[in-house]
């Protein structure tokens, strides 16, 4: 395909065409598999132990009579790169809040981003409403701690110690505070489920928490927990993207061996 006319007429932006094509492939696959899912053709979804463990963690906290902590990371929802992690974390929060309301266990949500605060509050409030337990919803348990990263971390750690957390569920974008929170969670005896797509923090979560969702698993969490066939169907699109990536890597590798850098040039379009 020759895209030179489009670039010379300045219709498409140079350097972003390959990205756009890739996005269109993924978007089309997502739409297609959502339709398939709605039509009842639900793909097999492998078990994600970290997500299954959420029920166990909440159940355990209920038996112990201790509160459940659930946070969605420290990234702003408006952030282009890390915002999706917060959205993924909020999807998990909705599920956790519903279970907490059902079991009558106290839920504490530490918040760092002010913009996310009203969203988190509404998610929890609505979960309690849906379970018919709005009277048990405590607005003061959706806690804005601090916009300063370590102020947030310090507040979160103190809260876990003071309130003796029974479970600590952390899914979203975490940075240096990840290990601090996980280690204090361990110290207070909380069962911990963590998840982030920040590669540099995954090792800390793996070492210090009971279950860890790695990278893409957090984005699938909303679909997995919702059990909605259309949502589950959309996860297949991730695999389509992987197949395309693997094909490009292998093809690029083979062509490079023969001195041809066509794939690299193509990705620069």
């Amino acid at each position: 395909m020759d895209i030179t006319p489009l670039l010379s007429q300045q219709i498409l932006k140079s350097g972003r065409v390959s990205g756009m094509v890739f996005l269109l492939i993924i978007a089309a696959s997502t739409a297609y598999f959502i339709r398939r899912g709605k039509a009842g053709k639900v793909p097999y979804l492998r078990k994600v132990p970290g997500l299954d463990a959420i029920d166990e963690a909440i159940g355990r906290a209920t038996e112990m009579g201790r509160p459940v902590f659930c946070s969605h990371g420290i990234a702003s929802i408006a952030d282009a790169t890390y915002g999706p992690q917060t959205i993924a974390g909020l999807s998990v929060l909705g599920y956790v809040a519903q279970l907490c309301a059902r079991y009558g266990v106290r839920l504490i949500v530490p918040v760092r981003q002010l913009v996310v605060y009203p969203i988190a509050r509404e998610i929890v409030e609505n979960a309690y409403r849906m379970e018919g337990k709005l009277d048990q919803f405590r607005v003061e348990d959706i806690v804005y701690l601090s916009g300063w990263q370590f102020g947030y971390s310090m507040g979160y750690m103190s809260l876990m110690r003071r309130e003796k957390a029974g479970a600590n569920i952390m899914v979203g974008g975490y940075w240096a505070e990840s290990l601090q929170l996980a280690e204090v969670g361990y110290m207070v005896g909380a069962m911990q489920v963590s998840g982030t797509a920040n590669t540099h923090q995954i090792p800390f979560f793996v070492v210090a928490t009971d279950y860890t969702l790695i990278g893409e698993e957090i984005y699938a969490a909303g679909a997995y927990l919702s059990k909605d066939p259309a949502m589950i169907g959309s996860i297949v699109a991730q695999d389509i993207g992987k197949y395309v990536s693997i094909a490009l890597i292998l093809l690029g590798f083979v062509l490079l061996i023969f001195g041809n850098d066509y794939i690299i040039q193509m990705l620069r379009w």
């Binding site: 972003r16 996005l23 978007a27 999706p84 909020l90 999807s91 909705g94 605060y117 210090a208 990536s245």
Partner: protein
């Protein structure tokens, strides 16, 4: 009120503003559209600033009752409220009163309170990683043993004493860092990127509603 609570409205707003950002990223749509795109980005800054009020309310909602009802550790809550207002006043842009971000008092608190606090809190990580590693870095299985060995090699590679005692550890550490580590990192990055993309598309199509009142 019932109209405002309908979930279709936030979904429609999300779709419109997402498309305003996405399409001009790939396609040249002229200066007018790009100016609108920039303006929408600036709106987020304004919304974030407006949200400061939400934070202030939340903090007061928690800490004022704690002080007035003399609950456990109410003294800390009082300190928090006092410092919150103090720093707000100190940050006001009145240079003639030595206030504002470049004023003496802001620098004083910044350098003498926030700097040592930040450094100390970050330094806690060194302690926590040691205790976490002591607890979890155990050769329980083949995978765990591999993790243990490669982790230890990299720790030794990072310590001058490690490379001094065993010079070969530098090359070995670099190999682990450059080959297996990089391969895994790239795989996770690609997987994460794809996951974020699909999630974004689900949001655009109105299926991902977890961030909207818990899914309904």
């Amino acid at each position: 009120m019932s109209l405002l609570r309908r979930v279709e409205i936030p979904i429609a707003i999300t779709i419109i503003f997402a498309l305003i950002q996405v399409i001009p990223y790939f396609v040249n749509m002229g200066p007018a559209v790009e100016a609108t795109q920039d303006k929408v980005v600036r709106w987020t800054l304004i919304v974030s600033t407006g949200a400061l009020l939400v934070g202030l309310t939340s903090l007061l909602l928690i800490h004022v009752p704690r002080v007035t009802r003399r609950r456990t550790h109410w003294e800390y809550s009082l300190l928090l409220i006092a410092f919150m207002f103090l720093m707000t006043i100190i940050g006001l842009p009145f240079p003639e009163l030595n206030l504002g971000l470049t004023g003496y008092w802001f620098s004083f608190f910044y350098n003498n309170v926030l700097t040592p606090l930040s450094a100390s809190l970050y330094a806690i990580l060194a302690f926590y990683i040691t205790s976490a590693a002591y607890r979890a870095f155990k050769a329980r299985s083949l995978e765990a043993a591999l993790l243990l060995i490669s982790g230890t090699i990299l720790v030794l590679r990072n310590a001058p004493l490690g490379t001094f005692l065993i010079p070969q550890i530098a090359d070995l550490g670099d190999w682990i860092f450059n080959i297996p580590n990089m391969a895994v990192n790239r795989a996770i990055m690609i997987g994460g990127g794809l996951g974020a993309m699909v999630l974004g598309i689900r949001v655009l199509l109105g299926y991902e509603r977890g961030y909207l009142r818990g899914g309904e």
